[in-house]
Amino acid sequence: MDNPTALKLFLDEVGDISRFAGKFLTQWFKPRYEIAEFVRQCFVIGYQSLPLVGLTGFIMGLVLTLQLRPSMVDYGVESQLPAIVGIAIVREIGPVITALIFAGKIGSSIGAELGSMKVTEQIDAMEVSGTNPFKYLVVSRVMAAICMLPILAVLSDAISLYGAYLGVNIKGATSFRLFWMLVIDNLAFNDVLPAFIKTFFFGFAVGIIGCYKGYNSKKGTEGVGHSANSAVVISSVVIFIIDLLAVQITDFLGFN
C-alpha cells in the first residue's frame, strides 16, 4: 500500500467490518450452536449491565421531566408533561441512552477481552481445541448483545418512566395511575415498535464492532487498549447513524 490516506484507511476499515459482519450473518445459524456460552454472555452482557443502564435511565427520566417542566408551564400544558416525557423516553431517550451506555460498557469489554485473547493466542488455542472461535466468541457475544440490548432498553424505559413520575411529583401531585394513563394514552404502536426494533440493530452494532476490534487486535497491551477504545468510539457513532437511518425508514414507511 503506497501512501494510504485517511480516507483509504477508513474505507478499508469499513470494508473489513462489513466483511466481518457478513461472516457473522452467514455463520450464526449454522451448527454448532454455542448455547452455553451464549447464555453465559447474556448474563454478563445483559444482567450485569442492568444496574448501570437502570441508573442512567432513572436519571434521564427525572432530569428530562425537570428540564421540560418550565417550558410546559409557559405554554400552559403542564398537565401534558407525562405525555411528552413518555413519548421522548420511549421513542428516543430510552433506546439511544441505553445503547450508548451499553456501547461504553459492553463494547469496550468485548473489545478488550477478545483483544487480549487474540494477543495471548487464546483464540488460536480454541481453534486448535476443536472449537470455531468465531462461533464460540463472536457469534455468542453478538447474539447476546442483539438479544439483551432490547431488554435493557425496555427496562430502562420502565425505570426512566418511574424517574419521570418522581420528577412530575417534585413540583406537583399526580397519582401514578393518572401519570401512567397519560403516558399510555399518548403512545401508539408507532412509537413503541420502531424504537424497540432499532435496539436490536444497536445491539448488533455494538456486538459486531466490539468483536471485530478485539478479533483484529494488534499485538501488545497497547493494541488491546486501542481495540477497546475504538470499539466504543465506532459503535457510539454507528448507533447515531443507525438512529438516523431508523427515523428515515420509519418516516418512509409512514410509521411516524
Partner: protein, 248 residues
C-alpha cells in the same frame, strides 16, 4: 525407534506481503522422535508450526499429518487431526475467564472425547498429576506463576493424549531453573506417552536436552539437519552462531 512417519512437510512456501518467511521448506518427523527447529526470532518458526496445525494456510506445498493432507480436508476431519496433535503455545493461551479445571475440560468437551463428568474429572486429575499441580484445580490462571501456567498449559495439551506435540518456544519467558523443569517434564511426558514432538526454540539448553534431531531454519529453508552433537561442530557460520551462543 520406528520409521513410521507422522509428519511430513514438503516444499512449503509462506509469505506475508513481500516478506517471504518460508521458501521450499521440507521436514519429516517420525514416530517417537523429538525434533527441535532452531531459528532466530522472525525466521518463521511459529509460522511453520501454525501451518502444521492449520491455523495458517501455506501459499504452496503440502503438509501431511497422519496421512491427512492439511488444507485439503474439511473442518470436521481437521478437528479430528487436531485432537491428535497437541499444541503448547508460547504464551500458554490459558483462558483467563476460566478456572484451571475448566481450562483442562475445554478441549475434552470440544473434541467430544469424554462424555461423562466422571471421566472428565479423572482425565483432568490425571493430567494435573502428570505436571504435579493437582492442588491448583480450582484456581484461576491469573493466580498462578509463569512456570505453573506453562505446566497447566502442558497439562491441557496432554489431556487429549496426543500423538504429536508441537511446542512453541516452551522455555521463553521463564527463568533458567523453571525452564529446566519444563524441559524435564517434556522429556518425561514424551517417554511416558511415546509421543513425537516438534519443538520450536532458540534456547540451547532445551535443544541439547530434548532433541533427538535438530533442524536449523534459516532464510526460510531447512538449512542444516542432524543431531545436537553433529551440529555443534558444524563449520557453517549460520549454524555456528546458535551453538557459539551456547558456550557463553
Amino acid at each position: 525407534m520406528s520409521q513410521e512417519m507422522v509428519l511430513n512437510i514438503s516444499h512449503l512456501y509462506k509469505s506475508f506481503g513481500n516478506n517471504h518467511v518460508l521458501t521450499d521448506f521440507n521436514l519429516s518427523v517420525y514416530k517417537g522422535e523429538n525434533v527441535v527447529v532452531l531459528g532466530k526470532s522472525g525466521s518463521g518458526k511459529s509460522v511453520l508450526i501454525k501451518c502444521i496445525i492449520g491455523l495458517l494456510k501455506p501459499d504452496e506445498g503440502t503438509i501431511k499429518v497422519f496421512d491427512e493432507l492439511i488444507g485439503d480436508i474439511d473442518d470436521v476431519a481437521l478437528d479430528r487431526v487436531r485432537a491428535r496433535v497437541g499444541f503448547l503455545f508460547q504464551s500458554n493461551a490459558l483462558y483467563d475467564s476460566m478456572t484451571v479445571r475448566e481450562n483442562l475440560e475445554f478441549p475434552l468437551r470440544r473434541h467430544w472425547i469424554a462424555v461423562t463428568q466422571e471421566e472428565v474429572n479423572t482425565m483432568v486429575m490425571e493430567a494435573l498429576e502428570d505436571v504435579g499441580l493437582v492442588h491448583t484445580v480450582d484456581m484461576m490462571p491469573v493466580e498462578l506463576s509463569g512456570g505453573m501456567r506453562k505446566r497447566i498449559a502442558l497439562a491441557r495439551t496432554l489431556i487429549l493424549k496426543p500423538e504429536i506435540i508441537l511446542y512453541d518456544e516452551p522455555t521463553t519467558g521463564l527463568d533458567s531453573i523453571t525452564g529446566s523443569e519444563i524441559i524435564h517434564l517434556m522429556i518425561d511426558i514424551n517417554k511416558k506417552y511415546n509421543t513425537s514432538s516438534l519443538i520450536i526454540s532458540h534456547d540451547m539448553n532445551c535443544v541439547r536436552r530434548a532433541s533427538d534431531r535438530v533442524v536449523v531454519l534459516y532464510n526460510g529453508i531447512c538449512y542444516a539437519s542432524g543431531t545436537y552433537s553433529e551440529l555443534i561442530h558444524h563449520q557453517d557460520p549460520n549454524v555456528k552462531q546458535f551453538f557459539e551462543q551456547d558456550y557463553k
